[in-house]
């Protein structure tokens, strides 16, 4: 399952692709929403690990506009609930992720992203 938490941690790793290689863009996405248990403490602790702009941009591309442009200074339960939903409940089941820099396409099949590169593409 490619949840946005995973997507937020993946960058293109093709040979010589070192800048502007994050976030990968979604393409031809088949989206599924699956409820996950809400653990506010965990979401709060995980917040510093997130690349915020990338997450907001990607969530909006997938049709979820619940997150603000900037991380709020006061983190309340409503915010954590929205963040939880975006990070852990949106699943991309089929489609692809495309590098904004080198345009390498990483297919997603049955919820598993294929990040393998061909021999000549490995750094």
């Amino acid at each position: 399952m490619v949840r946005l938490v995973t997507h937020n941690l993946l960058a293109c790793h093709a040979k010589d692709c070192n800048t502007n290689n994050f976030p990968l863009g979604f393409q031809n996405v088949q989206l599924e929403i699956r409820e996950a248990e809400f653990n506010p403490d965990f979401v709060r602790a995980f917040l510093p690990k997130i690349e915020w702009n990338a997450l907001v941009k990607t969530a909006r591309e997938l049709g979820d506009t619940s997150l603000p442009d900037e991380q709020p200074e006061m983190v309340d339960d409503d915010f954590l609930q929205n963040l939880h939903h975006v990070l852990f409940e949106l699943h991309v089941i089929e489609g692809a992720m495309v590098c904004p820099n080198c345009k390498h396409v990483y297919p997603i099949s049955d919820g598993i992203p294929n990040m393998l590169l061909a021999e000549h593409e490995i750094a």
């Binding site: 290689n21 602790a45 690990k49 990040m115 393998l116």
Partner: protein
């Protein structure tokens, strides 16, 4: 006693690509259980299980950490398990974002010695051979990962590695200390048939 994770959702088809839990897996689980206190103290947010297949080890760690802790676990084998699964050779698409961020790293490498070319071939394909072919001295794949593990490990993170006696455990420990400033200890060792298995644990020498 923590029950061994349920892997009954995996089918024979899955086991033709990954390998079934065996002695090395059980020793790994025993070692993690022995280390439960230290693992809990980490308050882990991100775990990484590399190339191991069934996700059995990560599931077990999740049980050790308890229901109130919910670390994100990545399985880098491309097999559908109850974790975030990524089909990749090692962690290279994650390094960019997970630099010094991973709290628990679990690696049960393919350590059976084979010819180098065969190992390369097997690693590129997705087959049971990939899980077993360990390269010339059984260390080819392990060495590639040992080169980058420090990049991933968080300040107080713990890295667990399964090794065979013939992999030269003291040499691995010395090399990791000198080249990557990771100190280590043998958590458990056991003779299983012809194999003498070790579970090593690495951590930063001087965490800030």
């Amino acid at each position: 006693m923590i029950p061994t994770p349920d892997v009954s959702h995996l089918t024979d088809k899955d086991y033709s690509i990954i390998y079934e839990p065996a002695e090395d897996t059980f020793l790994f689980l025993d070692a993690l259980e022995a280390d439960a206190g230290d693992l809990k103290e980490l308050k882990a947010l991100i775990c990484l299980e590399v190339g191991s297949g069934s996700g059995c080890i990560s599931s077990f760690v999740a049980q050790i950490l308890g229901p109130s802790v919910r670390a994100i676990s990545f399985s880098l084998a491309g097999i559908k398990v109850s974790l975030e699964c990524i089909n990749t050779s090692f962690a290279s698409p994650l390094i960019h974002r997970l630099w010094h961020q991973v709290d628990i790293i679990l690696f049960n490498p393919p350590y059976v010695p084979t010819e180098y070319e065969e190992a390369r071939f097997a690693q590129q394909g997705k087959s049971i051979a990939g899980a077993w072919a360990g390269g010339y001295d059984g260390m080819q794949v392990t060495n590639e990962f040992l080169e980058i593990v420090e990049d991933l490990l968080s300040e107080r993170g713990l890295f667990y590695l399964v090794a065979l006696k013939q992999n030269n455990v003291p040499e691995i420990q010395k090399r990791m200390l000198h080249e990557h400033s990771l100190e280590s200890k043998v958590v458990l060792q056991r003779r299983a048939g012809r194999e003498h298995l070790f579970i090593l644990r690495f951590k930063r020498q001087n965490p800030s």
